[in-house]
C-alpha cells in the first residue's frame, strides 16, 4: 500500500492506500451486517487477519533475506519491518515490559488501515484494527512464536494513537513425526 501523495503504484504489487482503506471499511461494514454483535465481528476480523498472516509470512521471508531471530526484540523489529513493507506505514516499537516479553507497536495520530471511519455508539466495542492483531498472531505462529495481542489505544476512538500490545507467550515446539530430522 502506498501512502497518498507519493507516486502511487510504481510497481505492480502496490495498491492505492485510499482504496485499501475504503475497501476494508466496506468489508467491516459488511461483516457487521452479517454478524451484528460487535464481539462476533471482532472474532471474524481476527480470523481474517490470522489467515492473512499465515500466508504473508512466507512471502515476507521470501522477499527479505533475514536470519533467525535470536530474541524477542529482533522479532519486534521484523514485525515493524513487515508493516513498513506491506502497509507502507511503520509503527514505532517501544514501551517494553521489564521482563522484555511485551512491547507496543504504535502509530502516532493515525490508524494505518482506518480513515474516514465513524463509530456509531452501539458499535463502540468493535475493534476496527483487530485484523492487524490477527495478522501478527498468524505470522508469528508460523515461525513458532505464540503471542497475544491487545489493542491498547485506538486512534479512531479518539485516542492519540493506535497502539497494539504484543505479548510473548511461548515458543511452539515442533511435534515431529518419527523419521524426520
Amino acid at each position: 500500500m502506498s501512502s497518498k501523495g507519493k507516486a502511487p503504484l510504481l510497481d505492480a504489487s502496490k495498491v492505492n492506500a485510499d482504496l485499501i482503506k475504503l475497501t476494508y471499511g466496506a468489508l467491516v461494514a459488511q461483516i457487521v451486517k452479517d454478524y451484528e454483535r460487535p464481539e462476533d465481528v471482532n472474532k471474524q476480523l481476527d480470523k481474517l487477519g490470522y489467515n492473512i498472516g499465515v500466508r504473508l509470512v512466507e512471502d515476507f521471508i521470501a522477499h527479505h533475506n533475514i536470519p533467525r531471530c535470536l530474541d524477542f526484540r529482533q522479532t519486534a523489529e521484523r514485525i515493524q519491518q513487515a508493516f513498513r513493507f506491506y502497509l507502507g506505514m511503520q509503527p514505532s516499537v517501544g514501551n517494553w515490559s521489564p521482563a522484555g516479553n511485551e512491547f507496543s507497536l504504535t502509530w502516532e495520530q493515525t490508524n494505518p488501515i482506518g480513515d474516514f471511519v465513524e463509530f456509531p455508539d452501539h458499535l463502540r466495542p468493535l475493534q476496527y484494527s483487530r485484523v492487524l492483531c490477527g495478522a501478527i498472531r498468524g505470522g508469528c505462529e508460523m515461525v513458532q512464536i505464540d503471542v497475544t495481542i491487545n489493542i491498547a489505544r485506538e486512534f479512531l476512538l479518539a485516542d492519540s494513537a493506535t497502539e497494539l500490545r504484543v505479548k510473548f507467550n511461548k515458543r511452539l515446539e515442533d511435534a515431529l513425526p518419527v523419521g524426520e530430522d
Binding site: P8, L9, A12, N16, D18, L19, L22, T23, G25, A26, L27, A29, Q30, Y50, N51, V54, R55, V57, E58, I61, A62, F116, G138, E141, M142, V143, Q144, L172, D174, A175, L176, P177, E180
Partner: protein, 160 residues
Amino acid sequence: SLKARKHARNNPPEVEKLDESMKRLNVTPDVVLSKLEGMGYQVGLRLIERLLKDHQRFKDELEIMKYICTDLWKYIYDKQIDTLRTNNHGTYVFTDNTFKPLTFFSVEGVDQYYAAAARFITFPCGIIRGALSALGIRSAVSAKATTVTACVFEVIVERS
C-alpha cells in the same frame, strides 16, 4: 524458512478455504457475489466523492464514462481502460485487456479460472455502479472475463 515450512506441514494452521467456508455457512456463490458487489458499490460511492472534490462539472454522460475509464481506473488500477464503446443509447462497454485483479491468482484449469475470476470482477462492477450513482446515474453493471487477464464491463444506464 525451511523450519517454518516444516512447522507448517506438521502443524497445519486452521486456514479455511473459501469453498469450505461457503459450505459451512450454507452460502451460495450468488450470495457471495452480491455481497462483494455491494461492498464495491460503497467503495465506488465514497471514492468518487473524494476524487471529484475539486473537479468541475461534467458536461454529459459520455464525459462521466470517460472519466471513469481514465482517471478513476488509473487511480485504482494504475492503468486506463483500453477501449470504451457505446451505442449512444445508454449502453457502454469498457474493455480492459490486462485487468490487474485477474493477474494475481492461479488456478488448476480454465473452468476454475472463470469461476474464480467472477469473484474478482464483481467488486469492480460495484465500484463502477457506485461511482455512477454518486454522479446521479442509475445503472446496471455486469462483467465478463473474456480471455485470461482480459475483462469486459457492460454498463447499462437506467432511464426513468
